[in-house]
Symmetry: C2
Subunit: 375 residues, 2 copies
Amino acid sequence: MTQFSFELLATDGAARRGRVNTAHGTLDTPAFMPVGTAGTVKAMLPASVAATGAQIVLGNTYHLMLRPGAERVARLGGLHQFMNWPGPILTDSGGFQVMSLAKLRKMDADGVTFQSHHDGSKHRLTPESSMEIQRLLDADITMAFDECTPFPATHEQAEESMRLSMRWARRSKEAFVQRPGYGLFGIVQGGVYPDLRAESAQALQEIGFEGYAVGGLAVGEGQEAMFATLDVTTPLLPADKPRYLMGVGRPSDIIGAVGRGIDMFDCVMPTRSGRTAQAFTKRGTVNLRNARHQDDPRPLEEGCPCPACRDHSRAYLHHLIRSEEILGPMLLTWHNIQAYQTLMAGLRGAIAEGRFAQFAAEAQALEEMGDIAPL
Amino acid sequence: MTQFSFELLATDGAARRGRVNTAHGTLDTPAFMPVGTAGTVKAMLPASVAATGAQIVLGNTYHLMLRPGAERVARLGGLHQFMNWPGPILTDSGGFQVMSLAKLRKMDADGVTFQSHHDGSKHRLTPESSMEIQRLLDADITMAFDECTPFPATHEQAEESMRLSMRWARRSKEAFVQRPGYGLFGIVQGGVYPDLRAESAQALQEIGFEGYAVGGLAVGEGQEAMFATLDVTTPLLPADKPRYLMGVGRPSDIIGAVGRGIDMFDCVMPTRSGRTAQAFTKRGTVNLRNARHQDDPRPLEEGCPCPACRDHSRAYLHHLIRSEEILGPMLLTWHNIQAYQTLMAGLRGAIAEGRFAQFAAEAQALEEMGDIAPL
């Protein structure tokens, strides 16, 4: 049976090229995980997600526990079988989404009670119940239950929140059922305060996890503060475990974080943008709703292997968006996931060949050139 | 260069197994044409449409002339290139949709003036402009511009309407630019009145077309009246030209019409139903929104090669519908188009082997058995 493990294959400065082995297969890092909130990467067939090169997807505990319910998913064979994604799956702990419910939730030292946004029904999440739900979903990577510290937060608020998360991290570890090929990740909190990040990183390692996430970033602090926090955090994390920056981000965020030693990413940006006519290209984002595309016979991005670029013109994509045709979001989502996977493959190749800095500089220069000029 | 032609390969009673050759390829008949209203079969990639076995799609002149505009489509290489459908395309004349605009249109002996449902802008369709638009779209099969006689209509109303359509059919023929591999179809009108259908069929043959459509049915008259009208109409149409029943229909309508000598069909039913959780199966329609599917691990239809049935459970499809996930309409549309193409392939095989009556009886018996019992 596969053991959950991380192989560090190459480094280039702080950037790492690695491999995570799980019960349902391997993911090459740096990896971007498309978000499959409710058991589907929105507007994509699972086979299409895999065709982009994605090896792992993310599921959301909050959404799945409410609908269709974790017990139901378990009865139907687990999330892999339910959504027909045979590869690795990571689930979040539900904490982040429950906290964002604002008036619909009530926190105590033991956990969070909240009302469903569907029907107002009452539910409760604790470290223990989150572990149980993620086990029912059959996640290869389970995330510890924590509180995502809001931004801005004073040092005192961030400290109190982080220490609560560390207590919950220990309870998560105790409740997590070890199985071969399955891993539990702890989450470093502490806001933008280096001393709190250090304390959190230390506390988590004393508990011991199969991987370490950096949480509480990409919540409004800006790229500079995010990078500064990574600069003081990733050096404190063990080199032989995968590192996951939660909820990040734009391509430039990812490149900068990879350069600071991060291995895994997730973000709704490529999928959500695909449903709002925004396409990611090597030369920045393109808004396909813009009338300047209406007569443009060129592909969205030359050389991209996705069907939007391979089979269609910008003019056609624009037409689909303007006509509110479902095929528009379908094609743009596919393109965006492909663009992210192409970026990750480029990063992996560059690190393996010792040219990460050059790759990052070229990517930045290309993006600054901006979108291809109109005809 | 391919000439537009029809090969009659086999008959079984009135049912016909044939082949239509066009500039962009061949379609085997009896054929069902998925509807690609605005240059896309809703919620489907063109390659997925082709994967179901569909060989031809339909485009709507009314929608495409307004957005993105026929001249624009022509500049972008025609509708085949625009929507990336390299196979045959049939376009309607725009007449049917313009007539249904009710208060937004004004008819005269020469044509119809109407306002766009998008922005209220004024447009005009005549036999001549409809031919020009369909030529710009590069339709392999162009439909004559006609008035779809409303139902119910008195004999006098149906007669007047039919005679107008016959005058417009002659003008359509005169305006149609003959090109190798391209064909123009006339449309028989006359409501439910046998004498008018006969007069219309005769008038169209005097003009001469590459194919003959039966119009003005599936507008509320019911299956019995539709079949009765076909019984008196198809025998009057030339055996060496394809016959197209416009806007039809449910599987039982198609089977009955094939048994009365019809070769081609189109209908929004499989695609529209796919977006409203209705799935067509050999045992009738299934509403995936129904809670009885929520724990059902079985495929929607055993043996169906579409991804909805091959890769997913009824429980998952139900979950997608309830969660309003785009993948729900995507999968159910795919299934429904597949179900229709599987039906057509079954009909073609049955006619070729002289067992059409048996096939039709078995299909009816299966449908009457109803959906598979709940678990």
